[in-house]
Amino acid sequence: MSTTIQVSRRTKRELVKFVSELQLKLGRRVSFDEAILTLLRERKRSYSARRELRTFKGILSREKDEVRRVMEELRREEERRLEMLGTTE
């Protein structure tokens, strides 16, 4: 059963834009109903991911020195690689 809701012109414009993006992505026709449901699902996924992201805070707190060492190693490798490229001629 369908029902009617009122939205402003601006919201409708944004919805139409989203519907066409979704159609391009899915390769088929998409209704306003499906587009709104997709938006709500995406919001739910984003909320739950944000909650999960907070659990990562401090996961490397016992590995400060190792983080520094790994990053320095990474930068050194990059420099070494660029130096090597410079001496191949």
Binding site: R50, L53, K57, I59, S61, E63, V70
Partner: protein
């Protein structure tokens, strides 16, 4: 540094996310003012690879995978790729690391300010935390 002093659009590099993972007092700042703020935050895709790599080395593949997926799904940062030519130009003109070139290129492309973590002398000796260095307009190197 106060939250309100930061620009509304920010380009960050892996060091900012790693600061959050390190959980030092700076992590609170990253959490409140960057990751969970109303700002538009951009991260180069190369930085995402670095975050994956560091986490994978220290916590294993599964944690790294979960972290990257969560970061993407949370939409707290927008992952940007395709900066190659701007990065190449910057690297050609300046003696700075590719990682710095990426964040500068990103800031310029998105019309954003830039934010990176800078290590102090004390931090190198393991008794300091470093600082977050943020600029509203990025013209040169950060470090």
């Amino acid at each position: 540094m106060k939250c309100s002093e930061l620009p509304s659009r920010l380009a960050i590099d892996s060091s900012v996310v790693l600061t959050y993972l390190l959980g030092e007092s700076l992590a609170d700042l990253v959490e409140e003012c960057i990751l969970f703020s109303d700002r538009e935050v951009y991260l180069p895709s190369t930085a995402l690879a670095e975050i994956y790599y560091v986490t994978c080395r220290l916590k294993g593949r599964e944690v790294a995978r979960r972290l990257v997926r969560t970061l993407k799904d949370s939409e707290t940062v927008e992952i940007v790729s395709g900066l190659d030519e701007v990065v190449g130009e910057l690297k050609c003109d300046r003696a700075i690391s590719l990682a710095d070139c990426y964040v500068i290129a990103l800031a310029r492309t998105m019309g954003a300010g830039g934010c990176v973590r800078q290590e102090g002398e004390g931090a190198r000796q393991g008794d300091g935390e470093g600082v977050l260095q943020c600029k509203s307009a990025v013209f040169g190197g950060f470090r």
